[in-house]
Symmetry: C2
Subunit: 338 residues, 2 copies
Amino acid sequence: MLVTLKQIAEELGISITTVSKALKEYPDVSKKTRKLVRETAAMLNYKPNSFAVNLRTKESKTIGLIIPEIVHHFFSSVIKGIISQAEKKGYLVITLQSNESYELEKKQIDLLISKRVDGILISLANGTADYKHISEVLNQETPLVMFDKIAKAIKCSKVTIDDRKAAYKATQYLIDIGCKRIAHFRGPLLPQNSIDRFLGYKQALTDNNIIYDPTLVYLLNKMSFDEGKFYANQLLKDHNDVDGIFINTDLVAIGAISEFNNQGIKVPEQINVIGFSNWFMASVISPSLTTINQPGFEIGKKAFKLLYKEIKDRKKKKIINYKNIVLETDLIVRESTV
Amino acid sequence: MLVTLKQIAEELGISITTVSKALKEYPDVSKKTRKLVRETAAMLNYKPNSFAVNLRTKESKTIGLIIPEIVHHFFSSVIKGIISQAEKKGYLVITLQSNESYELEKKQIDLLISKRVDGILISLANGTADYKHISEVLNQETPLVMFDKIAKAIKCSKVTIDDRKAAYKATQYLIDIGCKRIAHFRGPLLPQNSIDRFLGYKQALTDNNIIYDPTLVYLLNKMSFDEGKFYANQLLKDHNDVDGIFINTDLVAIGAISEFNNQGIKVPEQINVIGFSNWFMASVISPSLTTINQPGFEIGKKAFKLLYKEIKDRKKKKIINYKNIVLETDLIVRESTV
DNA sequence: CTGAAAGCGCTTACAG
DNA sequence: CTGAAAGCGCTTACAG
């Protein structure tokens, strides 16, 4: 069995209180006692029982993370950023995958609250349109920070990129290199980032006096490689004059390029393709993919830092000022555009 | 603040004991009381304080997972498999990244033990040569299951693939399609799977009466895309007669192919390339990569199931029979071999 | 400098 | 069927 304070106390014939204090660097313990206690603790391989500590201190030093999908270059980079930062501050991370399902997400929030995590980090599921579960958390005074897929309506701290601006930049680039008919593969209706990327695309067209043609916009749901292939094929059937395409995410763009390759359509000579996110894969396919770099690791780090600050502030009963961090993105030009 | 049993008890003018029992379906509570309690609990949005529950029951319903690297197709698939299975059984997963460092891994084990997780799942860091920290866990009677990168010397349950057999299969395939000079890019010295893959390669040569030439084996450390490029270049300099190469992992193989492409070396016409793991990326690069499929999601699921059984058995004071699960792998033939 | 005591929020053996 | 009480292993205000 695992060693407790009591056993150390008995071993040395002193009180539990003193042992506890000695181990925690309280100043009112004699040097000698402290040394003795520390040596005994080390010898017995004592490790504080976190259940008891948590119960007393009402802190778990654990945060929850809810993410739509783990096997995903962007999200796994975010996870890595969060975990690396959390570790530095002595926090552990419980990771849950919502699978883009609102129901699951709700259940997982409940689980985490019941676990009494000190805070929650979340990127919303595509299926989430109702935010009651989120505001309940905020009302219960558990700090929560959203990242990537956020809800604009909810008042809390957020870490995002400027999706609209990034999409604008990508579309503008297509225009600058001479594209006249630019299609867009967008994501599902709900998540804010797929809305914003669409709006950025549209805005760039308008600002360049290109008439927005809704038939050039395809709405995707799964955002998968296969969907990319499918809609690339569809696009070729529907429009033979498209010379550029801005795609919501790299995986889909890579699927589209694969379909173009198969059908003998030359990228970029016949169609220019720009993706979004800068998955590692984007740099190794052929032709390599021009894309927007979305700094997942940084987003994760920043999100944890914000959450950490809120946890500390809440403990000190300070008023919490929600922050909105927007990270910079760059256009990475590769072979899929001329 | 969050609601406690006491508040429900006061609200209804009954004892905490009865409230607790009513909520936990004890049979010795009247239907009426149970209904009342449940309604009140729901109304007040009661969620049991897990710190207190854990302290009493000595169970945390949480397991720890230590993995060398999160942003990695194989490992993130494993994580997903573990989390999905854990969720089904009501377990939460704390994920830690060892970064292939022995020191970090040791610290993380300590952290998890101190957290009193019910069990630990681990894939060893490449830097780990000493297993004291692992056997300590086992001695402390915390169930631990190893997967993928295991230590043969340690007695515990394990989930792996037959790396040797898989490597043999890959090498045999190269021989079957006519390769005479087959190189191997191997992983670092320590992890068992890089040893086994090397041995499988060597065995296949021997069984086919091909003389094993150590200069054809390159030892890589980081197992990165760039290292793949670097050693592909080195290989071309060292040997102009190599017609096949079996590479320890897909990412490196993709780097190598990229270098071959750059230098105008035709894959597979001049050099056949086989990777290992079947990252998603392997199917979308050009030429697509022939590789061994390593079922990450399945490995994760199986590893959790084994751990779960050990947790249950240990609780019932049953004797634990360590199991060694070896999952099947297939060779996926694609364009990088003739 | 040391320690007795209360209490965190539960569960459960026991008494009635 | 209900509840008083002990106890899980800590922390910390308080007394001496």
